[in-house]
Structures are given as structure tokens and as C-alpha cells.
């Protein structure tokens, strides 16, 4: 697992974020280093998506700061797939590619990577919700960004499809030393992909803990999830993540 030192690719500090006067986030700091995968996890309504949109620069109405390393580029996978419905699946992916590569085979290769070989010519409306999610992931791969921001990207996929996609994602990240900032409410998903887990909880939400996940992503023993839950039972409960 490449866990490089040096300055973080992304440093996020949210001192306060309000929606119509109501404070939803109060104190969140997190950093993502090169090649590192960080999961931001918390119960629904804890402001995870909000934090992610702030990190992506899509929401600038907050107190705090977002700092990107020099030349760092982001890709973002929204909670809803948000494919352009009037463009074919292939065009949706191709539009995220550099202009010179749009007509080449890259888009088809990326679609094959997420198991959508046969669907390139179809419109997003002709795909199931899960297939649209996969296409959205292929589009994010097309950007070839330094950090991938993922908002609940595996929701509504059935178990095996989600597992397959997670392994494709892990391979994509490992191959290129890319970083990941993952928002999820699913601790198992976080444990499978992340090097660190930042817990978000309370009202307004703040970061409760920043827990390192031991070992490399690809080489964790089968029972390590249970151990992690046991070791951090108290803090996980405080974040509203009860043991299964």
C-alpha cells in the first residue's frame, strides 16, 4: 500500500457549515495523503455529503478551508449517478476524457472495467440504477484524477455487484497510486477500502475520531473487521454505528 509522506493532496477543515441558519457541521478536519484512502463515515443526516461537496469545491458557503496540493485534480461520483440522460453511456464517459482521447477506445475500455461492455451505445435511461452507478464510476475513472471523491457509490447495487465494483475500484487506485475520499454509512465498505476512517457524529456533526485501519487494503485477514469493531466499540457506538 503506497502510503507516501509529504504534503497532503487534500486538506479539509470545516469549522462551521449552516443550512438556512441551522448548523449541520461544526468542526471537521481531515487530510488525504498521496495514495491514501480515507472513509468519512457517520449516520445518515450527519453532513457527510455536505462535507464532500465542500471538499470538491461545489459548495463555497462555509467557514473553513479546502487546500489542494499543487496540481492535484479531483474526480467526484455523486450519490445519484447524474449521467447526462441525452448522451449515450459511451459519450458520458468519453466527455470526461481529454479531447484527443474521446473518439478512441478508452471509453469502451473503462466501461469494460466496470462490467458494462455491451451498454456503450445505450442511453442512461435504458440502464438499471445499478448499471448507471457503474457508468458513473467509469466516468470518474476517465478523469484519471489524483483523488477520487465517492459519495455512497455502492448503494442500490446488489451484494456481489458491489463487491466486484469495490475490487475494481481498489485495483484502479492501487495501479495508479490514486487517493480516495469515500463517504459511506456502511462500516464494512469503509473497512474494505480505507486506510483511515474518520467518524462523524453528533448534532451538529463533528469528527469524533480518526481511526487508522491496520494493514494494507489487499492483505487483511478475514476476521480483522470483527477485531476493529471490538477494539473501537465504544467510539463506534457514539457515532451511531452499532456493531452488527
Amino acid at each position: 500500500m503506497p502510503r507516501a509522506g509529504g504534503p497532503p493532496r487534500l486538506a479539509l477543515e470545516i469549522r462551521s457549515k449552516r443550512f438556512e441558519g441551522r448548523e449541520v457541521l461544526h468542526g471537521l478536519r481531515l487530510e488525504v495523503a498521496a495514495g491514501e484512502a480515507v472513509a468519512l463515515i457517520g449516520p445518515s443526516g450527519s453532513g457527510k455529503t455536505t462535507a464532500l461537496t465542500i471538499a470538491a469545491g461545489l459548495d463555497e458557503d462555509f467557514e473553513g478551508s479546502v487546500t489542494l496540493g499543487p496540481g492535484v485534480r479531483l474526480a467526484y461520483v455523486f450519490q445519484a449517478p447524474r449521467l447526462l440522460p441525452w448522451r449515450s453511456v459511451r459519450d458520458n464517459v468519453a466527455l470526461a476524457l481529454p479531447r484527443a482521447q474521446r473518439r478512441g477506445p478508452t471509453a469502451d475500455r473503462l466501461l469494460a472495467e466496470v462490467g458494462l461492455e455491451g451498454c456503450a451505445g445505450q442511453y442512461p435511461g435504458e440502464l438499471s440504477g445499478g448499471m448507471q452507478r457503474r457508468a458513473a464510476l467509469a466516468r470518474a475513472f476517465a478523469l484519471d484524477a489524483d483523488i477520487l471523491l465517492l459519495d455512497e457509490a455502492f448503494v442500490s447495487l446488489d451484494g456481489s455487484a458491489a463487491a466486484l465494483l469495490r475490487s475494481r475500484l481498489a485495483a484502479h487506485l492501487d495501479e495508479r497510486g490514486r487517493s480516495l475520499l469515500l463517504v459511506t454509512h456502511d462500516l464494512d465498505e469503509a473497512l474494505e477500502l480505507a486506510d483511515r476512517i474518520v467518524l462523524l457524529g453528533g448534532t451538529p456533526a463533528r469528527d469524533l475520531a480518526d481511526l487508522p485501519v491496520p494493514g494494507a487494503r489487499s492483505a487483511r485477514p478475514p476476521d480483522f473487521g470483527e477485531r476493529f469493531r471490538r477494539d473501537h466499540a465504544e467510539i463506534l457506538a457514539r457515532a451511531g454505528l452499532h456493531a452488527k
Partner: protein, 255 residues
Amino acid sequence: MRLPSPRLLGFVASLALFAAIWQLGAAMADSRSLPSPSAVATVLLREAMNGNLAYHLGATLGRVAAAFLVAYAIGAAIGVALGRSRRLDILFDPWLVFFLNLPALVTIALFYVWFGLTEAAALAAVAANKVPTVAVVLREGARALDRQYFEVARVNRFSRADLLFHVVLPQLQPYLAAAARSGLALIWKIVLVVELLGRSSGVGFQIHLFFQVFDVAGILAYALSFIAVVQFIELAVLQPAERRAARWRPAPSRA
């Protein structure tokens, strides 16, 4: 051999019924004021053979096209600007209401008085009549633009051209199509009036001439041929273009 569709059969039957009633009425009236379909067809053939029909139809179509393009471009730009900016909308909405309610005849008379009986004045008058209606439709379109796709464009680093062609225009397409169809229908009627009042060519000019000698057959011959041309544009250009643009929509709404 494939049988003709019920729709086509119905269309032909409808036309035949119309012609039959017309023929019957003309026979009963037996008057120069209501010529029979065959009398109109004779005039139509004569005008087509001597080249008058093509000349005047061409003149009118040219004016329709020029006025349409000008009105469409200006109206769309104004509409999108008003739809995107609340301040501009508050400021200029009363103007829009005013111009929407200004009778075409008034605009035409004023433009001819101000700028003379010129081609430019004629086209400007027609375009000025159409700009507000295009603007109103496109304002709705601009208001309906979905913010989530602008965020997609942003995170995927779309260029301005990408944003326009892949995010903005596809969303505006139904509104652009609606403005085009209603625009065509409105503009060709106004062009005839402009020609009647101050041009020496075009279908409107010809109808004016026939009117002065009470030649109803001539009036009907030109009117019918122009309706046919406009319908042809609708069926052969606008509808296929719209179908093409709506390919991506899920099947139920395609009907």
C-alpha cells in the same frame, strides 16, 4: 406490397372530403367569388408554368427564413438572459409584456414609416414581432435548467463549448423546438402582411394584386401553395429534427 397506414388513408380521405364539399359549394354558388377546386388548380398550374409562383414563393420563403433566424437568435439570447438573471427579469419583464401585446400591424406600420419601404425594414418588423414570443419560451427553458448537471460539468472539467453543447442545449431543446414551430407558423403570416403593405414581390404582394381585381382563384392558388410549402417544412424538417433530438427520452413519452 405494404398497405398504406391508416393515418395516411385518413389524411387522403380528409382532403377528398374537403375538396368534395368545396366543389359542391362552388357548383351551388356558381360565382366568381367561390371558384371550384379545378378552377383554382388551373390558376395554380398557370402560375407555376410561367414562373410567377416560384418567384413569389421564393421571395416570401427567403423573408421568412431571414426574419426567423434574426428573431430566433435575438429572442433566444434575451430569453436565456432573463431566465438566468432575476434582476434582469424584474427589470425587463414589463417590456416583454408590452411587446407581446403590440399588434403586428402597428410594428409594421411604424418600421415602414421610420425606415422607409425597404427590405431591411420589412424583415426587422417581422423579426420584432417574433422576438418577444421566442424570448418568453426560452426564458422558461432557462429557468428549468437543472443545476445538478452544471455540477457534473464542473467536476468533469467541461470546456465552455462542452457545457453549451452537452449540458445546456440538450436541456433547452424542447423549448427551442417549441419556439421554432410556433415561430414559423407566426412569421409566415406576418410576412404576408409586410409584403402586402410595402413590398413588390412575394405571396403577400400577389394576393394584394388579386384582391384588387377580386380574383379569388388567384388568392386561393397562392394561399394553398404556401400552406403546402409550410407543411412540407414542418413534416420534412422540423418533425424529423425533433424526433432525432428526443431519441434519448424513455419510450412512453416518445408517443
